[in-house]
Amino acid sequence: MDFSTIRNLITRYCTGEESWVDSRTVYIGHKVPPPGTEAYIPQRFPDNRVVSSKYTFWNFIPKNLFEQFRRIANFYFLIIFLVQLIIDTPTSPMTSGLPLFFVITVTAIKQGYEDWIRHKADNAVNQCPVHVIQHGKVVRKQSQKLQVGDIVQVKEDETFPCDLILLSTSREDGTCFVTTASLDGESSHKTYYAVQDTKAFNTAEEVDTLHATIECEQPQPDLYKFVGRINIYLDRDEPIARPLGSENLLLRGATLKNTEYIHAVAIYTGMETKMALNYQSKSQKRSAVEKSMNAYLIVYLGILISKALINTVLKYVWQANPNRDEPWYNQKTETERQRHVLIRAFTDFLAFMVLFNYIIPVSMYVTVEMQKFLGSYFILWDDDMFDEELGEGPLVNTSDLNEELGQVEYVFTDKTGTLTENNMELRECCVDGNVYVPHAICNGQILPGAAGMDMIDSSPGVDGKEREELFFRALCLCHTVQVKEEETVDGIKRGIHQGKSTSFYISSSPDEVALVEGMKRLGFTYLRLKDSHMEILNREDEMERFELLEVLNFDSVRRRMSVIVKSSSGEYYLFCKGADSSIFPRVVSGKVEQVRARVEHNAVEGLRTLCVAYKKLTHEEYDQTCRLLNSAKLALQDRDKKLAEAYDVIEKDFILLGATAVEDRLQDKAADTIESLHKAGMKVWVLTGDKMETAAATCYASKLFHRNTQILELTTKRTEEQSLHDVLFDLSRTVLRQHGSMTRDIFSGLSGDYQDYGLIIDGATLSAVLKPTQDVTSNGGNYKEIFLEICRNCSAVLCCRMAPLQKAQIVKLIKASKEHPITLAIGDGANDVSMILEAHVGIGIMGKEGRQAARNSDYAITKFKHLKKMLLVHGHYYYIRIAELVQYFFYKNVCFIFPQFLYQFFCGFSQQPLYDTAYLTLYNISFTSLPILLYSLMEQHINMDILKRDPSLYRDIAKNSLLRWPTFIYWTLLGVFDAMVFFFGAFFLFDNTTFTSNGQMFGNWTFGTLVFTVLVFTVTLKLALDTHYWTWINHFVIWGSLLFYVIFSLLWGGIIWPFLNYQRMYYVFMQMLSSGPAWLSIILLIIVSLLPDVVKKVLCRALCPTTTERIQRMRADRIFERVETNIRDSLLDGIQNTTEA
């Protein structure tokens, strides 16, 4: 359910349509603004109560029941149950009511328990005390009573109770440190700023005198976006307006760190906080198996209805003779007679439906759910996927998609942090074409000073030296890195200086950390930011202080960031670093050519390059810049756009200083993993924001592209030369020619030697391809199709320069293509979240860029290499397990119900059930449920190690191969055959004769029990035949459930049960067992029912074995051979020994 729509409705309802506004006004401390200011529309805000629970004590039962019966399966069973209650049905309502009740109760208890926990958590949060300033005093309040406009005091290590605007802090500079670990998983401290004009209001009394209003946008879920304005009224003058941005907004859920206390005003409370708005259940993903399961269900529903219809029609045809309808010995009651024939027919139809309804078993849903839930633990427990470094194993956020892991056809992977380590290290920097390589850390000791620098090229002159130092300073200043301090302030300087890790750098971007650390090794150490002065230690151990004036933050569109600093000598500098493509066009002087060559060289090596440039600003220029920035920052609307425009104006006319190259090493076994995925028939696409050369280099390194891969380029460079149209058609022609020969290769069985293609496309071209063209004349609409056609024939695709949303677009495009392939997206950063959510299976990597990806994913792993085991082993297992589970469930219920159907032909279509009620009820619940559940948890048709070693086995199960219609029909026909065997076997045995040695006769219940016994044994043994992995648990459960059936039957028939109104089963089972022919026929019928399946299996294996079967065979042979050789060897030894003797 969408929270926001409800909320909108409620707000609209409460405030009235007219007063619905896009921004809200908050009176700080609830003080009315001075008269004369604009008339504000009073708005009502919710209190700070957080409700994450779904139910209350009163509405739990109705609401929970309603939710549960919204599931189509539950609803179906409810209907069946109600039908059984209302009409006179052959089976007691217990048979379907009991399982349904069980399922509903278990689910309700589970959901109730979860909700109770949520209630407890809510209460804990809502009732936790917060400090509110009222009339100059600090008052304790329950968190839920907090109102918008309250001034809140938060102490160190406390969590913010709602979304707050920071007014003042205990620190003089008006900053505070916050960790947002519980919001986005980033544990690094972030700095937030108090409003400049209020930071002086430090104590409770002072804050209370503050007279101000805040205007801000209505709540929205984006954590990193906020625009607002504060109007401060001082001495009844014109109010001072200050911009508010996300750096002033403290989010609920974040924790205050390293700051004694802060004062802040509540602006969003309760369910309107950004955290609450982000608390949304992700849209449910459905696996392919579930889809085929639903398709089967529909088929079975069809079978069910047609069976009921056939029987109803036949019943009335047969009953046309009144002596059959109502013979003298079997009269109807008056009420029955008086009923209208149509009503009777309809009731009969319903009764047949009820009789046959077990063909769609409740328990299948329960078993599937349980299998998924329990099965996911094997992923959690997997030792191979446990990462020792992080101390964490994989996470399973949803167990609904376990089997989908075995069906993946397309893998979309992020590059940085996923394929690569995201463990950056400065490899080199290039100043004006001179290359510097910082020394690596030797034995944990950093060589001090200038000795840590190697000059490859000739040493620069005086001018060069100056440029070089400027470059280093630029890198030391142009960043957003924070220094995490250890306890003592004194120790820092020494600590950094001596290379002891008493302090370290923290940043949201690992590149920056790498750069700053690299600078440290080159002699320039960034110490800290103090009173908006950045302190650096230069090579001569002298402290240099620069006043930090402006930070033009990095964003992925601009792909650069800048700082404006004022040196101690009073000069204004603007330093900028960014991607080469965003710097070079803005450079006016500097040794562009040398640097560009170096950058390109490094990019090809797979290094991440950044260019550094600067410009000097005069005081006037700086003022102008300041004004420009401030006006943009103050804008309430379109602030981002205006800021971007301002940045564009400011960041130009640079002087190029040089470039850096940061190495991002490939993850352990990334290449091996990609190769395995390729062999498993998956197509791997790399989607990255990086530039083409770097990305391509990584692709080569990770074996995504091989030396002999022919690279097709679809980039802006090429489309500039030719039209997009021509390029696309060119490429598709190349690929299609190849495709023809490839299919031939497959036919001739020599698929190893064909040319494979790799495609490189960049973001700009991609959006051109995807953009629906307006003019109808050109076949522009087909671009998408052509593009897909090309992609389909490429073994690897690299998409570079991608915006996060484009990643999701690509995934969507492939998902929607005509084969509807199963896609998997894997990534580690916030920029991958959209594609992770979009793909069928989203995998997050718990990496350095926070936990956002991991939290939004379906599964989270620690390293890319674990994907191999995840897909090839776990995915494969889960798929074959659940496929068997689904097919087997339908099979066993065909076996179960079809004899009942046949029996109708011999009992005058009277809906007489063949089996006793207890058997009808317990068949799916206990007699046959555990073996299949256990099978679906434990089955390993092939050893794990072989699956890992031989990825091509994955192709055997591709495209949902075990759940295709032919397989399904085979299982169903097998079920029908078995049912026929059971029924007619018993039929001919009972045919007008006795089979006891005392001449006594058996009745209809013995007949049913005989069929049922054969049924239970056959169905269980069929599963035993399918089991390839017999652990002691399998033995225990399979033989145990057969034993349970026997014991239950003995008990059930052994006593006159006082609470039952019938004793039809009394001694039936024992009497049956006392008869020799019954035993003989049970054995015979079981063997006959199993025979065709065994023969089919053996023949298939012998005549056209699948790869899987070959491997199994090979393994068996090998064991056999080993035994044989062992025997031979020992024999030979023996012979030798004897001859020697």
């Binding site: 079997n330 001449g999 652990t1031 026929s1081």
Partner: protein
């Protein structure tokens, strides 16, 4: 070999604990237990069904089933069964004298002979019929006796009194009387002694069916507030006045009838002709017999047929060639499949093996 590898892993697990930055405690708590079960590495038997493994099973089945089948068939064929189709005549008394010549071969049967009546086209398994009974009434429950279950409708009450035994099954109790006479060569008719006990399941007679009123031997008093089933000529306590252990609900003819048959054509055990004590003379000596039927039970209306069957019984019950034939068939099929698989195994098995080795 497996165990050693686990140990190695365990040791590995300890190293990072001391190195890891998160503190050893944190590392340890999250690390999964390295048990064989959790790692899905439980030792297991991994059988696969190949021609090679299945072959012996097929031959075995063939070799075991065919002799069993032959045995069953022979046993079944040795059973003497004799069936008389009762011709429904409008008169209530009917004697059939057509048996004479057929009983001649019964020379060597020294065992019991079982006498059945059979009905066809009689749907005892009709749902309305099957459920039309009250088991607690039949079990001697006092309250059910006077207030029978609703399931018994429309045979629940008559004349405002509850019917005992209620329900359609009881109401339609088979009430023909069959008597068998040996016609001595001198022309005199000797009645064959027909035993009417031991025809119902022991548990039915002694546990499931019980007369109400504990030890009150006077059943007419026990049943005084009840009414007889409408189609019955006499009340339930007069079913067998001669034998109190066979009267009322525990009358064996009644119990036999109450066990509803599985199929519309069925037979029910009627009487047992016990073997002669001396074991020298056959149970039914060769000669002519006459069957006398007191014909009460109407079957014409639903196209039913009545039969009387005399049959001996072996350990496998009555005459039924099905099981024997089925066993022989299945045995032969298995044998045949075994041969086919053997050929396939030799032809293809080797080829596959050869193909596998380069892999």
């Amino acid at each position: 070999m497996m165990a050693s590898s686990y140990n190695a892993k365990d040791e590995d697990g300890h190293h990072p604990g001391s190195v890891g930055s998160g503190g050893p405690g944190a590392v340890k708590s999250k690390k999964p237990d390295n048990t064989a079960f959790k790692q899905q590495r439980l030792p297991a038997w991994q059988p696969i069904l190949t021609a090679g493994t299945v072959l012996p099973a097929f031959f075995m089945i063939g070799l075991i089933f065919i002799p069993i089948g032959i045995g069953l068939l022979v046993t079944s064929n040795n059973i003497k069964e004799f069936e008389v189709r009762a011709v429904a005549i409008a008169t209530s008394y009917c004697v059939i004298r057509a048996l004479c010549s057929y009983t001649a071969p019964r020379t060597k049967d020294f065992s019991n002979v079982f006498m059945y009546y059979g009905l066809s086209n009689f749907y005892q398994n009709h749902r309305r019929y099957v459920k039309s009974r009250d088991d607690s009434q039949l079990n001697g429950d006092k309250s059910s006796l006077l207030n029978p279950s609703k399931e018994c409708e429309p045979y629940r009450t008559s004349d405002k009194k509850s019917i005992a035994p209620c329900g359609a099954i009881a109401n339609s109790l088979f009430n023909d009387t069959l008597e068998l006479f040996y016609i001595h060569p001198n022309g005199s008719r000797i009645a064959i002694h027909l035993v009417k006990t031991g025809i119902a399941w022991w548990t039915d007679k002694h546990v499931k069916f019980r007369n109400p009123g504990e030890n009150n031997n006077n059943l007419s008093i026990v049943f005084q507030d009840t009414s007889k089933p409408v189609n019955w000529r006499k009340p339930v306590y007069e079913l067998d006045p001669s034998d109190p252990d066979n009267n009322g609900f525990i009358n064996e003819d009644f119990i036999v009838w109450m066990r509803t048959a599985a199929l519309p054509t069925f037979r029910k055990l009627y009487r047992i002709i016990q073997k002669k004590k001396d074991n020298m003379t056959p149970t039914l000596p060769p000669g002519n017999y006459s069957l006398e039927v007191i014909y009460n039970y109407p079957v014409r209306s639903f196209d039913g047929r009545k039969r009387m069957i005399l049959s001996t019984i072996s350990w496998m019950g009555g005459k039924n060639p099905f099981l024997g034939i089925a066993y022989i068939t299945v045995g032969s099929v298995c044998f045949f499949l075994g041969v086919v698989l053997l050929i396939i195994h030799h032809k293809y098995g080797n080829r596959n093996n050869n193909a596998d080795i380069p892999n």
